[in-house]
Each structure stands twice: as structure tokens, then as C-alpha cells.
């Protein structure tokens, strides 16, 4: 590989875009960067995936710091859910020994489809509930009450402080465990599942879910990155422009996210989940039945 200005600028630009959309949705953005590295620059897939995992840390640092500063992130909720996410990632590596990859992909296709449909069908619900103050009227479950998971943030689009009572901690924790398994086994899908789990099952407004997920994804990505680093797969010449671009994009994205109405964020989240579920389904079909669906990216 010879380092050139065009190589650096293309990676920087793609990573910037990934970081921007990742900041809006609380996800890592690897899904945007890996195809650029593999298809455009013919980098080996392992190096591309390793670089994308490091970019997840970059977006989490940049986006997470901004959302923490804006007090959008729910720190206690994030810490609590990180327990199940990290355990999920650990058990994912054990499960990999017993489960076929295509079967796991089919399971996650179903999960992503379900969650994407929920996000799409409930896309206007957040704004209505925020206007009515409904997020503060829920009754917490025992675990949420014991851990004091409730939170609030100032919504710039709605121009009000939104208080919310967290419910469904066991269910949300279970789904985040699956998110950990997904990101550990498959390398994608952790962030979207976490955001959806918090928003759809834990009574957390979309923006608080995005801010909290943004902080959480860095932890699971850090563990994977350490392993890739020790194996010599993190090629820092590739990581450098990707990490810088992601940082820039995520920083810009965090300035905009709170100004958008939640309905647009949920539209984007649903689209991303449908896109990911198609990709996983296509790969599963190819692996198990050698049926090749059109590639969307």
C-alpha cells in the first residue's frame, strides 16, 4: 500500500459520513466504511473490519463526549446495560463454537426486521409522547427503581425538558445481551439493537437512547479492538484517516441530532435496520443455500 492524498481523503470523507450518521442514530457506522475500504481500495476484509471496529471507538468517544456534555446520555442506564452487552460479547465467542454463522444471521435478520418495523410504525409516537409528558408517567419496574435509572434531557426540537421513567429493565437488558452477541459474532448491529431496545421496551425517548447507545458501543468495540490489535490486524495507516474522519463526522452529527424531531431519527433508524436485515439475510442464504441475492452495498 502506498500512502497517497486521494487514499487518505477518500477514507477521511467516507468515515466522516459514517461518523455523522452514526452520531444521529447512536450506531458505529462501520456498515458505511467497510465497503469503501474493500471495494474501492481492495484492502483485505480483515483489515477493513478491524479498522471499522476502531472507528466505532472514535465515534463513541466523539459522540459520547458531546452527548454526555449535553446531558442527553443516561450514564447509569448505559453502565447497567453495558453489563449485559459485554457478557453478550463474551458469550458470543463461546456460542460461535456451537452455532452455525448462517443460523445466527437468520435470527438477527428476524430481530432486525421486527425492531425496524416497530421503529417505523411508531415513528411519530416519540414526539407525541414528549409533547404530552407521557415519558414521566410510567411506573418503573423493581430493577429500574432499585438502580435509579430514570433520567431527563433538554430536547431542542421540542423546546422542553423531557423527564422519563425507565421501565422494562430485564427485557431491555436481555435484548442488549443479544446486541452484545451480535456485535461480538457478526461485527454489526449492536448499536441499532441497543437504541431500539431502550426506545421500544424501556420507555426511553429516542434521543436519550441514541446518546446512551453512543457511549455504550465504545466499550464492546474496545474489547474487540484489543484482540484485533494483539493479532496485528489493526493497520494504523488505515485506521488513522478513518478515525479522524469519524471523529469529525460524529462531532458535527452531535451538534445537529438534538435539533431534529425524533420522527426523522426513527425513519433513519428503521431504514438502517431494514438495510442491515437484508444484508444479513442475503449472506445467510448465500452461506446455507448458495442463493445469491442482489448486493445493496
Amino acid at each position: 500500500m502506498t500512502y497517497s492524498v486521494s487514499f487518505v481523503l477518500w477514507l477521511l470523507g467516507s468515515a466522516c459520513l459514517a461518523g455523522f450518521f452514526g452520531a444521529l442514530l447512536g450506531v458505529g457506522g462501520g456498515i458505511f466504511i467497510v465497503p469503501v475500504m474493500v471495494l474501492m481500495f481492495h484492502l483485505p476484509i480483515k483489515i477493513a473490519v478491524a479498522a471499522s471496529i476502531v472507528s466505532v471507538i472514535a465515534t463513541s468517544n466523539a459522540g459520547g463526549s458531546s452527548y454526555v456534555d449535553q446531558r442527553i446520555t443516561n450514564l447509569k442506564l448505559g453502565m447497567f446495560l453495558e453489563v449485559s452487552t459485554t457478557i453478550g460479547a463474551l458469550s458470543g465467542s463461546v456460542l460461535a463454537l456451537y452455532l452455525k454463522e448462517w443460523a445466527i444471521m437468520l435470527l438477527f435478520t428476524a430481530l432486525l426486521l421486527y425492531m425496524g418495523s416497530t421503529a417505523f410504525l411508531q415513528r411519530k409516537l416519540d414526539d407525541k409522547r414528549i409533547a404530552a409528558g407521557d415519558y414521566s408517567n410510567a411506573k418503573p419496574d423493581r430493577l429500574s427503581a432499585f438502580l435509579g435509572l430514570n433520567g431527563n434531557y433538554h430536547d431542542q426540537a421540542a423546546q422542553r425538558t423531557v423527564d422519563y421513567v425507565v421501565t422494562g429493565a430485564p427485557v431491555g437488558s436481555g435484548i442488549c445481551y443479544l446486541a452484545g452477541v451480535a456485535s461480538g459474532l457478526l461485527g454489526v448491529g449492536g448499536g441499532v439493537v441497543k437504541v431500539s431496545a431502550m426506545n421500544a421496551h424501556m420507555n426511553v425517548p429516542m434521543k436519550a437512547a441514541v446518546g446512551t447507545s453512543k457511549l455504550m458501543i465504545g466499550v464492546t468495540a474496545a474489547v474487540s479492538s484489543i484482540l484485533f490489535f494483539l493479532a496485528g490486524l489493526i493497520h494504523f495507516y488505515v485506521v488513522a484517516p478513518v478515525a479522524m474522519g469519524t471523529t469529525i463526522g460524529a462531532t458535527i452529527g452531535t451538534m445537529i441530532m438534538n435539533r431534529l424531531h425524533s420522527v426523522w431519527l426513527k425513519w433513519l433508524l428503521a431504514l438502517l435496520m431494514f438495510y442491515l436485515s437484508y444484508g444479513m439475510f442475503a449472506r445467510a442464504l448465500g452461506m446455507r443455500f448458495h442463493i445469491h441475492l442482489p448486493n445493496l452495498g
Binding site: M1, T2, Y3, S4, V5, V8, L43, V54, I57, A58, N61, A62, S65, V68, D69, R71, L75, K76, M79, E82, V83, T86, I87, A89, L90, S93, A132, S136, N137, F146, G148, N150, G151, T161, D163, Y164, V165, L215, G218, V219, A221, A222, V223, S225, I226, L227, F229, A231, G232, L233, I234, H235, F236, Y237, V239, A240, P241, A243, M244, T247
Partner: protein, 141 residues
């Protein structure tokens, strides 16, 4: 006439219980760790990229070459002689360690705040992270 919704004060729920649960110092300390990690790693990446573009060289893509750069004297010599790879390597290490540091700092801050529950919660996260790395390395061997 009809039932009216209760007026909810900002920062309390409908039972007038406070919402918003974490002391400001926890947010402030987590923010500082993330910000410092982000700024320093980005600056080091930028230095490395600029140096690499000023003196373009062929860089192997192999894992063996990457691991060679980890040797302590190669790394120190590289920093001293403005080798772009050494700067990027240092930036990568700092970037990866930032979320880990965030978890460790959180344990400390919750401890200072006498929040035992979250000292336990955050310590579990840290232990699982360490266990994952150890078990994976043992598995690789």
C-alpha cells in the same frame, strides 16, 4: 369537564419524585476522559498522516509487519525520528484505551460519590472486559 392531567414539574415525575439521577461530577469526569482521549489521539493521527504524506513510502499490509512495529525500541526510535507509523500506533493505543479508561474512572467517581451499587455495576463491566481479552488470548493460543 373531564379528568385533567397532573402538572409535572421538570425534574420530578407525577409522584413528585425526582428524576435525573447522576451527580454532575460523574458527567464532568466522564466527559473529560472522553474529550482528552479524543483530542490527543486525533492530534497524533493527524501528525502521523501528515508525516506519511510528506514522505510517501510503500507500507506492507501484513499482520507480521504491523506486529513488528510493536517492539519497544522500534516504537521509541520511531517517535524520536518522526516515523509516521509510530505516531499512528501511539494514537491507536490511546484511542482504544479511552473507553477502558472511562470505565475505570467511572468506578472511581462512583466510589467517591459513595454510590456502591454503581461501583459494583461498573466493576462488573470492567471485569467482563478483562475476562474477555484473557479468555480470547487463551483460546487463540
Amino acid at each position: 369537564m373531564g379528568t385533567e392531567k397532573p402538572v409535572v414539574q421538570a425534574g420530578t415525575n407525577s409522584n413528585s419524585e425526582p428524576i435525573g439521577n447522576v451527580a454532575d461530577n460523574v458527567y464532568a469526569d466522564v466527559y473529560k476522559v472522553l474529550l482528552v482521549g479524543m483530542v490527543i489521539s486525533t492530534a497524533l493521527f493527524a501528525i502521523g498522516v501528515i508525516l506519511a504524506l510528506l514522505h510517501p513510502e510503500y507500507v506492507p499490509l501484513s499482520a507480521a509487519w504491523v506486529r513488528q512495529q510493536y517492539h519497544w525500541h522500534t516504537f521509541i526510535h520511531g517517535l524520536a525520528t518522526a516515523n509516521p507509523g509510530s505516531f499512528m500506533l501511539l494514537a491507536t493505543i490511546l484511542l482504544i484505551l479511552t473507553p477502558v479508561s472511562r470505565v475505570v474512572v467511572s468506578i472511581y467517581v462512583f466510589y467517591v460519590d459513595h454510590d456502591r451499587k454503581y461501583v459494583v455495576v461498573t466493576s462488573i463491566v470492567f471485569l467482563v472486559m478483562v475476562l474477555t481479552v484473557i479468555l480470547s488470548r487463551l483460546g487463540l493460543k
